[in-house]
Symmetry: C2
């Protein structure tokens, strides 16, 4: 098996990614000794570190990657990890990245507080930036991420949810954090306002596309590959893009069948319907929508002075497109 | 019935408390319209607003109460409210202040996220202070509060918990937020470092004493007065000061009886034992410990220039002592 598309891009900033990893691991020391074990467990289950990757590439694309870029990468990843800990509590998830979740190991109460601690610690770190606009933007984004998750939760099992509603939720809960990572990396490099704006938009579109990918993966991936149970979103009443596209063009009969399958938790049958339904594959259409968004983001990089990191951002988009393609089986 | 001891003290800063209330209510506008209702519900269930009261009195004791003091009061109360929302999820509490809790109304998932949103919003507000030391101290304290709660949760049903362990938990989860409220109020007034230190310590001791009071109230209060179910801490395996003092001097027989009662959820019998046990009342001893702490805090105010607000801080201590006395029935 070859190197994953994302790993290829990550090589560009490998030494910096390692610094980020080391810094993340060091954060356990900021907590009470009684809590270090929990924090280490939460931050140690190495994910793709996509947000740090974006941060570092955007930093390198706009100047020299400096310690503040590394700090920013650590902070956005910690915020992301905090939200994952709470997500797993809410989804009653047993496994993440092929490991037991914090809630599976220590129960919901401890995990709610573990998420809170990580969250508060990330925002504490963000107050160390000289420029207080940076800490303000990070805290505001954290609020946006949580608000997006809250709207998503509020609208579970809501068949009136539209594709537009879905996109707004995804933009808030994922696009915003990617966006602030890329934007602030450029701010730290003291880039021109129009360049900052370009990176902000790039992060927003890439983040939104990535969430669409993750949502498609939950329906079309394989459990051995993802390390988590498939169909979780549907089971929890979260209607993601493929489902909404399906419903939009479904006949009354199909729509009714879909509701029935979701309520009866017949998730495999539902996935079959999404892949091969009469509307010719809501999943393919979702993959196409995500890929289009990435190409749009890549296009906006045209105005940016080329260097290996700027090229890396383009490759990051290409890697995500490749990941989308792998879902088309 | 006369005015409550705390309400008498609050009159000193009534117009400012009203500003704080108005500002808290306004915060709903910072959230997505879909979420305003939840936020309004969480912030609207008017508590004692003890942290804002302390903030405003400390502000007035060190200078003129200004808009930054009001901001600080709003922020510490929002952090407090966020932790209450999560507490209620963890305790599966049905009622708070005689109203259904957020989790009772909307379930755990939404309430976890509601707490997160309030928390993130409070920290966003804190980044508006000119002096970034202030936002750093607030974020750090938020992390301390959550860490204290986490240690408490970790040690539920742990019979090896000592009085010292308990005090440390209480200092972290409540003392620290009171402390930072009083300290930063003095910082905002640009008070001398030794004055800032005095207020920091005063807040710390008053906050710790207040938590001891709240813990005693859970065992010795009346449900109609508190608006919540009594004995919740014991039922959840949280051993508070009266229980720990009881266990410290209990005979093997009493200790075993206590464990049995807790495990069998015979909370009323357990409370009886705490009030009238052979060691002559662990509850009275806890009340005495809390009252001592308050008198110590009051004593440290001697070095502060007297004005109506500084006198108000002394009265705040006296009001808490009165509240403790009301538990001795």
């Amino acid at each position: 098996m070859g190197v994953s598309p994302l790993a290829r891009v990550a090589r560009l900033v490998q030494p910096h990614i390692e610094k980020v990893e080391a810094r993340i691991a060091q954060q356990t020391a900021a907590f009470d000794p009684a809590l270090e074990g929990y924090v280490l467990y939460a931050v140690g289950s190495r994910g793709k570190r996509l947000r740090p990757l974006l941060t570092l590439l955007a930093g390198g694309a706009t100047g020299k990657i400096n310690p503040e870029h590394v700090d920013l990468a650590v902070i956005v990843e910690l915020i992301h990890i905090a939200t994952l800990v709470h997500d797993d509590v809410m989804d009653e998830a047993e496994c993440r990245r092929a490991q037991p979740t914090a809630n599976a190991r220590w129960g919901n109460s401890l995990s709610v507080l573990l998420g809170d601690c990580l969250f508060a610690h990330a925002l504490t770190l963000s107050t160390n930036f000289q420029n207080s606009d940076i800490s303000r933007a990070i805290a505001r984004t954290a609020a946006t991420v949580c608000s997006g998750e809250m709207i998503q939760t509020q609208r579970r099992f809501d068949l009136t949810l539209t594709v537009q509603d879905y996109l707004r939720i995804v933009e808030m809960k994922t696009g915003s954090l990617f966006s602030v990572a890329a934007e602030l990396a450029a701010v730290i490099s003291k880039a021109d306002p129009n360049v900052v704006e370009t990176f902000k938009n790039f992060g927003f579109q890439i983040g939104t596309a990535y969430q669409i990918y993750d949502d498609c993966l939950d329906l079309a991936g394989s459990e051995s590959l993802t390390g988590k149970t498939l169909g979780t979103d549907l089971r929890k009443g979260k209607f993601t893009l493929p489902v909404l596209i399906f419903l939009r063009s479904a006949s009354d009969f199909e729509r009714e069948r879909c509701c029935q399958l979701v309520l009866e938790e017949q998730i495999e049958e539902m996935i079959e319907l999404l892949k091969n339904g009469a509307n010719n594959g809501a999943l393919s259409e979702s993959i196409a929508a995500g890929s289009d968004l990435i190409r749009e983001a890549q296009g906006a990089l045209d105005g940016i002075v080329s260097n290996p990191y700027a090229d890396g951002l383009f490759s990051l988009g290409a890697a995500l497109c490749e990941m989308f393609d792998q879902l088309r089986v």
